[in-house]
């Protein structure tokens, strides 16, 4: 089985015209980690993901995948998009095979089995519901054993129930594959449900992070879960004003413990320097 790959963004700057999207961003993830990036719209979350995919290049700084600096497209990465982006002229099975160098039927079938859609292998994507399309997109993303899985708000356009199902599915397939995963989302509940680490992106930098050690699969009713969600949410809401007043200071951090529910580590205002 392929394992995940270590990824790193070192002092990355990216601007579009006069608009600075990423400003001296530092971020690193260990192999196999699930990192979730939250933050307000326009905070550079998707841009960062595109940099890791190699779809966009940094103006300054470097992106490293497995220790090597990324120049072109990242061949070990696969990406899932909010709008699915299945090819309407290929059947479901052929869509899953799109990223395989040698589309092999067994592998396609296996992947569709994992997402519960093996019986739709010969259907046109137009016949699937929104949630089914994203399941196919997930199967496609994982078919080639990627060492890095980039998820750009893949559940953003799904209804609440389907979204919960998809979160479970993403979690179980990620655990099975051992790949490094980076998810961008608006949904803080989703972040806490999936993340090893939640990173708050604000004004182009990784501003805060929380490590989530809750056992998987996670229960949103767990008080640690909801407390952490509240904490993160309040930071997302206020960050725009606070960001520049918080000093990248104290090495000590708060650790909240709630009975046997697991633990959450909070790094107040920690920056990656």
């Amino acid at each position: 089985m392929t394992r995940g790959v270590a990824i790193e963004a070192i002092g990355v700057h990216r601007r579009f015209g006069a608009h600075i999207v990423l400003n001296d961003l530092h971020l690193a993830a260990e192999p196999g980690q699930f990192v979730v990036i939250v933050g307000r719209s326009g905070g550079g979350k998707s841009t960062l993901l595109r940099l890791f995919a190699g779809l966009d290049q940094a103006d300054q700084g470097a992106i490293k995948i497995g220790g090597d600096e990324l120049t072109g497209l990242c061949s070990s990465a696969r990406m899932m998009f909010q709008d699915g982006r299945l090819l309407p002229w290929l059947r479901v099975g052929e869509n899953v095979g799109i990223g395989l160098a040698n589309p092999d039927y067994e592998r396609i079938r296996e992947m569709l089995n994992h997402v519960g859609l093996a019986d739709r292998i010969d259907d046109w994507p137009a016949k699937l519901s929104g949630g089914q399309k994203q399941r196919v997109a997930l199967a496609r993303a994982l078919a080639a054993h990627p060492r890095l899985l980039l998820l750009d708000e893949p559940l953003g356009s799904l209804d609440a129930l389907t979204r919960l199902d998809m979160q479970r599915l993403i979690e179980s397939l990620w655990l099975r594959s051992g790949t490094t995963a980076v998810l961008v989302t608006h949904d803080v509940d989703e972040a806490v449900a999936l993340a090893d680490r939640v990173i708050l992106l604000n004004q182009g930098t990784a501003d805060r992070e929380w490590t989530v050690n809750l056992p998987r699969p996670r229960d949103p009713a767990n008080p640690v879960f909801s407390a952490l969600t509240q904490t993160i949410l309040s930071h997302v809401m206020e960050e725009t004003q606070v960001a520049d007043q918080v000093e990248p200071s104290s090495p000590d951090h708060d650790s909240i413990r709630f009975g046997s529910g697991g633990s959450v580590t909070v790094f107040p205002g920690r920056r990656y320097r």
Binding site: A53, R85, P88, L90, G99, A126, A144
Partner: protein, 258 residues
């Protein structure tokens, strides 16, 4: 059953009216021969082998001209659709040439190529090229950039991107161009065969005119209509064959499968 018959009611009644007025002498056969006379003329020509000969020649001109013009339009359209440099280099020239009505070139083409086969094939190719070029260019240009981006992340190289994303994405538009071009193809052929030819359906009609054979003239017109209809049918069939995924064609599927 009633519903299926309804669209045929008006044309069939007109046909009957035409036949009856011819039989009763209301309509001079010089002006318009009766349907039965046209059929008879067709039967005689078919028996003598002339009909097949002329249809064969016309169809061959149409097919060769369409193949050359279509291929050229397709290649140019793909080139300018997928490369900015090629677009800057070629597109404005093609657009300029497009404004010249190709049928206006007939006198010049006759001077260049005489009244032989190459003149007709050239005109058909020229007429067919532009609609296919325009629609191919537009089709390739308007393929969802998100899909192309997806293809790149999923490791598709130039050829793979073209084969799996650009071409199928542009295909609906290309087929619209093909259908339009088929119309242009017959029109060009009719005009050029009528003006200068020694064989083909247009020649058949012009020759019959000299001998006042109105029935053969009408027959020729009907033949063009039939061939046009046939070409349109082929284009529709191509669309169903090549675009089974397209929502416009999904409606043709049995209801329970949707």
């Amino acid at each position: 059953m009633k519903q299926r018959f309804l669209p045929w009611l008006v044309p069939l009644s007109l046909l009957c009216l035409w036949q009856v007025s011819g039989n009763l002498g209301w309509l001079s056969t010089r002006v318009l021969p009766t349907p039965s006379a046209v059929l008879r003329a067709g039967y005689q020509l078919a028996m003598s082998g002339e009909l097949a000969h002329h249809i064969g020649i016309s169809s061959r001109r149409a097919a060769i001209g369409f193949a050359i013009g279509g291929l050229l339009g397709l290649l140019l359209g793909i080139l300018t659709g997928s490369s900015r440099i090629a677009e800057r280099l070629i597109d404005s020239t093609v657009q300029m040439l497009r404004t010249v009505p190709h049928l206006a070139l007939i006198p010049l083409v006759i001077l260049w190529l005489g009244v032989g086969e190459s003149a007709k094939v050239f005109l058909v190719a020229l007429g067919v090229m532009f609609p296919i070029y325009l629609n191919t260019h537009h089709g390739v240009r308007t393929v969802d950039p998100g899909l192309i981006e997806m293809g790149r992340v999923y490791g598709l190289q130039r050829w793979g991107l073209f084969r799996k994303i650009l071409l199928p994405g542009a295909l609906p538009s290309i087929l619209v161009g093909v259908r339009y071009a088929l119309g242009v193809m017959w029109l060009t052929l009719i005009v050029s065969e009528t003006i200068a030819a020694t064989s083909g359906i247009g020649y058949l009609a012009m020759n019959a005119r000299e001998f006042m054979r109105t029935d053969v003239v009408v027959l020729s017109i009907l033949l063009y209509a039939l061939l046009g209809k046939l070409a349109d049918g082929i284009a529709r069939w191509l669309e169903r064959l090549l675009l089974p995924w397209h929502p416009a064609h999904a409606a043709a599927l049995p209801v329970e499968s949707i």
